[in-house]
Amino acid sequence: MTAWTTTSATSRSRRLWESAPASFKVGVAMLIGHILLASVGPFVAPFGSAEIGTGIPLSGMSLAHPMGVDQIGRDVFSRVLYGAHIVIVLSLAGTALGLVIGSLVGLLSAYVGGLFDEIAQRVIEAFVSIPYLVLGLLAVYAAGPGLAGQPALMVIVIAIVYAPRIARMARAAALDIVTRDFVTAARLRGDGAWSIIRRDLAPNAASTLLVEFALRTGYAPALIGAFGFLGFGVQPPTPEWGLMISENRNLILVSPVTVLGPGLTLASLVVAVNLTAEGLARILGRSADFSVR
């Protein structure tokens, strides 16, 4: 019995894979590459992440230094490899936190309705009306100097930026569900709000939330990069890509490759996740809305 279910599941996922759009396959392949690099990166990197004197500073692209050497003599390629898991882990953690907070607020708001929903909607709308980068900067300021530069702050910032947007999405998805009979039945049965949200609303909103999560995760590395670039992200000498771009920005005229190396790696990660997310959306029959920015 178990064997039968497994084969059926495998052939089903194989059929899904075969019918998936080509862009989805490309995205998944790129994503697997990124995850592999992130997991083995620190072990295969030719130099240490903070090792100086690895070559002639700003000597450009070479076989020993595919992404060049930065101004204090660190090998940029090694630093990109070391940074990969930082970027991925922070993005996933921040988006996941935002998803949990956002879905809870959104589902609760749709379920409770009435005045609570009205107020929640206004507050969510206000948060969404602050451009995401500006909201993030505001959060960095409000967190104060104690948290500044901590990786945890980046997780919180991403969650704060994403939670209201995810809440709006979750609320819209749940509004369709709360009017269905099985929710009414659960309510009449005497189930509590928490139980209905967990057992009825969340599972039915899951595919919408999954696509939302994938799309948001795709843009999170760019957000982390932007904060690193502006000097409000993690602190040096952390090999975070945005921070590396900003460190090498002033010498871009002398050595473009030290900026483009981490930059294009960041872009390819975002492209990989976005292609995967868009494909996922099409497979699940949801529309992928790229208005994340």
Partner: protein, 317 residues
Amino acid sequence: MIFRLLSLRFLTAALTLLAVSAIVFAAVEILPGDVATSVLGQFSSETARAALREQLHLNEPALHRYLLWLGGVLHGDLGIALSSRRPITEILWPRVANSLILSGAAVVLYIPLALLPAIAQARHRNRPLDQVLSTSTLVLASVPDFLLALILLVIFVVVLPLLPAASVVTDSTSFGDWLRALLLPASTLAIVMAVYAGRMLRDNLIEVLEAQHILMARLRGLPEWRVIWRHAVPNAVIPTLNVTALNLTYLAGGVVIVEKVFGFPGFGSLMIDAIRFRDVPLIEITVLIASAVYVLANLFADLAALLLNPKLRQARA
């Protein structure tokens, strides 16, 4: 009916802005704990902190301070910047003007950047040109804006040394230099916006080109450019007005980072500096303005959708 709907929409926009002002005030003056210590640092003297508290009315209750601040903003009295000790209105407006010029230039560039590839794609639909352009817009949509800015910088400053690397403008900058300084930041913003509208425009154009009146125009023997520009484009553009208004919301945050990349002295770089120097009154007003731009652009998007779609008008009313 439409009047009631419009006034309701204006009212929610005003309410949203009011809520934004409360969030901003709380984030800047309540959450960081003692504002004076947060601004001046842990090792500041008690006298300096007391003076700052006096200046910012920090000894008053929070609600009173909020109302005082809100009243000041509504009257155009923005207070004094902490870092430069100059009236904020004096610092703010030249920067806002610069950013408006930058945004204007971005919108001017945005129109052909969205339109031309979409027309080419619609005319060569599902052929290699369309596929190449489709893939590149998809990739471009994923490239973060600050990175796009740096890539343009490498192309037009390093590889083809045509443009200045830093967009420094002062009062004495000549018109030609102004244009050269604007070109890279404006193109960055324009490309980001065009990518979104272009994908939609392509689909609309393909749909319109199938319509009867296009066939009619072709049968009348009109030249192809006339069929496209006179008969197809106007019909395809109307549904994208909504997206264009939404794109303006991107500008509210986009200018912040793009100005920083090119060192353009606009409103966005002022905001970054205000946050870096923990300049409380300046942070509050710049964040509020960015959000106001966002809310207004959203309002325009809704109005455009409402005016262009009679069905929506009736369904909601």
